[in-house]
């Protein structure tokens, strides 16, 4: 999976523009070869996750600002969690003299697979997206939960 850091692209862009020499032209040509890789808008910076245990559940939170519920795809299998997310840029009108003054956020698609410390009860996994935070409540598989034994009277 390719991850993209858009601020770096801008920094390199502004760095190369003022210079003009055969050497920079060489770097330019190298840069042009590399540039398509960086400009893949399909690669968004990997959103960070937090993972913890809460009783019989494994909890996951992931920061997904600007993402709508139908742009998130979650698959659970055994102890593997696969998270696919697409984030679209806000629609802007190209006319009316519009120009970007700053671009720090990233957009596009990413897929991430996490191996969890427990197998999960896949049918009972619940997902919630609220204020740009994805929260997964993932019950552990029954054989990972403590079994309480009743004392005989």
């Amino acid at each position: 999976m390719v991850t993209t850091d858009f601020p770096m692209i801008r920094a390199l862009d502004s760095w190369r523009q003022p210079m003009e020499s055969p050497l920079t032209r060489f770097f330019d040509s190298v840069f042009e070869d590399v540039h398509p890789l960086w400009s893949i808008s399909a690669a968004m910076q990997m959103p960070p996750v937090n993972l913890w245990e809460e009783g019989d559940n494994v909890m996951l939170e992931c920061e997904l600002p600007g993402v709508k519920p139908d742009q998130v795809d979650i698959e659970v299998s055994g102890d593997q969690l696969r998270l696919s997310v697409r984030r679209d840029e806000p629609g802007v009108e190209e006319k009316n003299g519009g120009r970007w003054l700053r671009r720090e956020r990233s957009f596009g698609q990413f897929t991430r697979t996490l191996k969890l410390p427990y197998e999960l009860d896949a049918e009972k996994v619940e997902a919630k997206l609220h204020n740009g935070i994805l929260t997964l409540t993932m019950p552990k598989a029954p054989h990972h939960r403590p079994h309480r034994v009743k004392l005989l009277k």
């Binding site: 993972l51 970007w100 720090e104």
Partner: protein, 129 residues
């Protein structure tokens, strides 16, 4: 879509409202200017609409968004980000129509629109012959 309009306050927050223990993060922003105004988008995941404060004063736009953590801090198996609030200031270089500034929060994404004051708008001047 649950767009929520946020009241734009024109005065600074009382400093006593800020939590001492919380970390503040710089929310990443996109800024776009057109003939009619300036649009600023900020990522503020985890911030509820009522916790967002947008203040414009003397050509300066301040945005603060609080994230309130849960009661107990869990023992993380994996921690890739810390919880904290967001703060960001922008110097707006053109006169804006303060009364018409709007702010909307949608899925953890804040959009602030600052319409330019009439005098600041680009005008095409016809040359008379």
């Amino acid at each position: 879509m649950n767009a929520t309009a946020i009241e734009v306050k024109k005065t600074q927050l009382a400093s006593g409202e800020k939590s001492e223990r919380m970390a503040y993060f710089e929310a990443p922003a996109d800024v776009r200017e057109d003939n009619d105004g300036i649009s600023i988008w900020l990522d503020t995941p985890g911030a509820a609409p009522e916790s967002v404060s947008v203040t414009y004063e003397n050509g300066s736009l301040s945005v603060e968004a609080s994230v309130i953590p849960g009661v107990s801090r869990p023992q993380y198996l994996l921690q890739e980000y810390e919880l904290g609030s967001y703060r960001r200031n922008f110097r707006i270089g053109v006169p804006v129509n303060v009364e018409e500034i709007t702010a909307d929060l949608n899925n953890g994404e804040l959009h602030v629109r600052l319409p330019k004051a009439h005098a600041a708008k680009a005008r095409k001047i016809a040359v008379r012959t």
